[in-house]
């Protein structure tokens, strides 16, 4: 078993797009592989490369190309961090809903390439819905543009849709154009302890709220990493965003709904609300040394209860601990499974992985620093149209230069 932690010391950080193009073209001509990296925050996703290669890092491509706030559009280099983009847009009370973990390191390009989906997407839409144009470097070093700087565009194929979520296997995103949204004026977070007996009633009550929360997360475990609580009981975290009158109305409804469901007093966070929410997003990929991995099991809010129960049963059977973050609005379950020590963990996790995939074939791995990770079924069952996806890969990168073997179905 090849060690995941072998570091290929050849790490390239191009300062300009033409430089990046040259590296890529030369690697392609040599028949070498390239591992594409942004902030490396989602390194826990995907398989290792099928061929050893140098790492090409896009973090130096972080210029702000254009920000016409009156147009609600922005164009940035793919290496800009999510936090830097957020700060830029916040100056004009705007944002793009790219909720991904570790925003201080995560790059725009990496977040888009990984296709990360955050909890606010049920309300605001997915990151792909905000990308209005891209520049990409293909495996042979060609630079290609798609879209533009307008918010409605049907001029040719919407290539940016293919690039988002392609895990760097069709090309390397070097810049992205977004449409922005006016930022909600106010944000408020509620955190309430959720004793086991109130959980189902409380989650049903949240689903019925008239003012839809931006995010509703049920958290079990993740001691101190989300809200400072010791994590023994579950907690519910609700993010509300909107105008001040709307937040007040929503607050009354939330207190009333949770109260009726038997939930004890809620904690309210105004200053630092979005930071509290960010901590929950970060927790989705937080690892415990080399003795944990985190799975993502998608589904509907209605079938989430069954998924949660199954994860805990399977974890118990394999003598591993489980913690979870359940996205109540979208149905995603993030389950972090851990062992007492790295050895015990690596002995048991493969069995758990098999058992989990028997019941939920599309389970994906999103975090884990253990070397055993590369032996696990990290992508789950491939999509129905995997053959068409492989054909696209072959057309875009016939020599398999870019992230070979990293993506689903061996792509």
């Amino acid at each position: 078993m090849r060690s995941e932690t072998t570091i290929n010391t050849n790490r390239i950080v191009p300062k300009t797009v033409p430089q990046l193009q040259t590296f890529v073209r030369e690697a392609n001509e040599r028949g070498s592989a390239l591992r594409i990296e942004g902030g490396n925050t989602l390194r826990g996703m995907g398989k290792p490369l099928s061929r050893e290669g140098a790492t090409l890092c896009t973090t130096a491509l972080r210029a702000v190309h254009t920000y016409t706030f009156a147009d609600l559009t922005v164009s940035v280099g793919a290496g800009i961090t999510l936090r830097a983009l957020r700060s830029l847009l916040a100056e004009h009370d705007q944002f793009v809903p790219l909720d991904a973990p570790r925003a201080q390191h995560a790059t725009v390009g990496g977040t888009l390439a990984a296709g990360w989906l955050g909890p606010r997407r049920h309300l605001f839409g997915r990151p792909r819905d905000y990308v209005i144009g891209t520049h990409i470097v293909l495996a042979d070093g060609t630079l290609a543009a798609a879209g533009g700087m307008v918010v409605k565009n049907v001029t040719g194929y919407d290539m940016s849709k293919l690039y988002v979520g392609s895990f760097g296997t069709l090309g390397i995103l070097v810049s992205a154009n977004f449409k922005t949204l006016p930022a909600p004026p106010c944000a408020r977070v509620f955190i309430a302890k959720l004793p086991e007996e109130t959980r189902l009633r409380a989650t049903a009550a949240v689903a019925r709220l008239e003012v839809t929360p931006s995010a509703a997360l049920w958290i079990y475990g993740f001691k101190k990493s989300v809200d400072g609580e010791d994590g023994i009981d579950g907690r519910i975290l609700l993010l509300l965003e909107g105008s001040s009158p709307l937040i007040e109305r929503a607050t009354r409804d939330v207190r009333s709904a949770l109260g009726r469901a038997g939930v004890p007093e809620t904690q309210v966070i105004d200053t630092g609300a979005l930071q509290a929410y960010d901590r929950a997003v970060d927790a989705c990929v937080a690892t415990i040394g080399e003795r944990s991995v985190t799975f993502r099991l998608s589904g509907t809010p209605q079938d989430s209860e069954a998924r949660v129960r199954a994860v805990y049963v399977i974890a118990r059977k394999h003598e591993l601990a489980a913690e979870s973050i359940l996205d109540l609005m979208n149905g995603d379950l993030f389950a972090r499974v851990s062992g007492k020590d790295a050895r015990a963990f690596s002995q048991r996790i493969e069995g758990l992985d098999d058992a989990l995939h028997d019941v939920f074939p599309k389970t994906m791995l999103v975090a884990g620093d253990s070397p055993i990770r590369s032996a696990l079924n990290v992508w789950g069952e491939p999509a129905a149209a995997i053959a068409q996806m492989r054909a696209l890969k072959a057309a875009f990168d016939p020599k398999g230069t870019l992230n070979p073997g990293r993506f689903v179905g061996g792509i």
Binding site: A70, I136, V154, G156, Y157, L162, A383
Partner: protein
């Protein structure tokens, strides 16, 4: 057996049209006239679509999928004859999942009918092209259709969660945003029938808003109205819709429908906002203030549902109303950054005047998506030449302002030679890779989207015959 005979054997006589008088209508969409197809097929199922494609392949005939034929650039008419597949009989909602706000629909389901069928569940389907009383979900998907409410809700691609596709060989595959892998759903929406034939769509539905208000402002000219729109957006307000019509269009609309627009102004701005009760008064005050700051001559709020419906019906029927002004019109679909709207409109006015053409403006101002409507008589070759000249100037001017050639109508046949005004050879070659994967033999809606090589030029816009 001939193509026609094989299709009749596979699908039954009733599903296959061969008589010239039946085929003739399929040579038209809302703008173009082409040669009729060899045969028209009206399948009732994905299986029948797949069988049709296989037979067409065997007989060496291309395939042209067609919804309602409301397209404006020759996307649904045959460029090289072949088999038109009409989805008129695949027009049902197959499944409605109210708790998860999604539905599975057949491609021939009419856009407005989808919203009507789900209304009692408290839901609606957001993309609302002006053609929505007639146009179909499949056609909307093929062109990534827009509409006034796309300003805040997004376009069709933001509301499609998955597709069932019959491919160039007559095999069926499905795509889904719920699955990991490339976003084939996003690539297929807007591909105008060139990458696969849509046989079912999983669509995202939205909750009906708690409160909806419609306001109407009038201005001395379109420039003032468009500056107001730019100012509204720049202030951080994104209403649900921001639509402008100039006096030429308003006159036609009022003569045709009596919708309630003031006819004594240079331009009108129709604003809609949907959301929570709590926000409405403040929003109304803010938008009204901006309108007055930019010279609004009048401002009123629609008081009744009937008034709202009439205003919207007038807006959506605008293009049709111009039939009383001139026998023909040519409508463009340029899209510019919102702050460039006033410049773009000035260019439109200049070009029209320079070429002696009457032009009306009706457009999705909030998105920067203009529809200059040039009125002319196609029997007069001088007017035809003027339309072509002005059209090209407007296109180039909008591109120079950072815009693009099509915001929502698509490229089809009519605009394909202008793609290279916006994209380089490398850009187009990259797109061609996708076509090469999904349609290597060029059988799916050939001669569409991409600039012509040496090819048949059998499709002419009605204007240019």
């Amino acid at each position: 057996m001939t193509l026609q005979q094989r299709l009749i054997e596979a699908l039954g006589q009733d599903a296959v049209k061969t008589a010239p008088e039946d085929l003739a209508v399929y040579a038209f969409d809302a703008y173009s006239q082409a040669q009729p197809p060899s045969v028209v097929v009206l399948p009732s199922s994905t299986r029948e679509v797949a069988a049709t494609v296989k037979i067409a392949n065997d007989c060496g005939e291309p395939i042209v999928p067609r919804g309602a034929g409301t397209g404006l650039c020759g996307g649904a008419v045959p460029a090289k004859g072949g088999v038109v597949i009409s989805f008129a009989r695949m027009n049902r909602m197959l499944n409605l999942d109210v708790p998860n706000k999604r539905a599975r629909v057949q491609p021939g389901l009419i856009n407005l009918e989808l919203s009507q069928q789900i209304h009692s569940s408290g839901l609606f389907y957001a993309p609302d092209p002006s053609s929505q009383k007639v146009s179909t979900i499949g056609g909307n998907c093929a062109t990534n259709a827009g509409g006034p409410h796309c300003l805040s809700y997004g376009t069709t691609v933001n509301h499609v969660l998955g597709l069932e596709i019959v491919d160039h060989e007559g095999e069926v595959f499905t795509t889904s945003l719920d699955e990991v892998g490339y976003d084939l759903t996003g690539a297929l929406v807007g591909s105008e029938g060139t990458l696969g034939i849509i046989c079912a769509a999983d669509v995202r539905l939205m909750n009906l808003p708690e409160s909806v208000r419609v306001w109407l402002a009038s201005f001395a000219d379109v420039e003032a109205a468009s500056e107001t729109v730019s100012a509204i957006i720049a202030s951080g307000i994104v209403p649900t819709a921001l639509e402008i019509m100039d006096d030429v269009i308003v006159a036609a609309v009022e003569a045709a429908y009596g919708a309630g627009y003031p006819t004594d102004a240079g331009a009108v701005l129709l604003v809609e906002h949907a959301g929570f009760h709590d926000d409405m008064d403040e929003r109304e005050r803010a938008i009204e203030r901006i309108a007055h700051e930019h010279g609004a001559l009048s401002w009123r709020a629609a008081k009744t549902q009937r008034e709202c419906d009439a205003l919207w019906a007038g807006r959506k029927g605008a293009a049709g109303a111009t039939g009383r002004i001139a026998p023909n019109y040519y409508i463009q679909d340029v899209c510019v950054p919102r702050s460039k709207l006033p410049h773009a409109l000035a260019c439109v006015g200049q070009s029209a005047r320079a070429h002696g053409l009457k032009v009306g403006n009706v457009f999705h101002a909030g998105d920067g998506n203009l529809h200059p409507l040039m009125m002319y008589d196609k029997r007069d070759s001088k007017q035809v030449a003027a339309v072509i000249g002005a059209g090209n100037e407007i296109l180039q001017a909008c591109i120079d302002l950072g815009g693009t050639i099509s915001g929502e109508h698509g490229i089809g046949y009519e605009k394909r030679d202008t793609l290279s005004l916006v994209f380089s050879a490398n850009d187009l070659a990259t797109m061609a890779k996708v076509r090469g994967v999904f349609d290597p033999r060029g059988v799916l809606n050939p001669e569409k989207i991409f600039p012509a090589g040496v090819g048949c030029a059998e499709v002419r816009p009605a204007a240019l015959q």
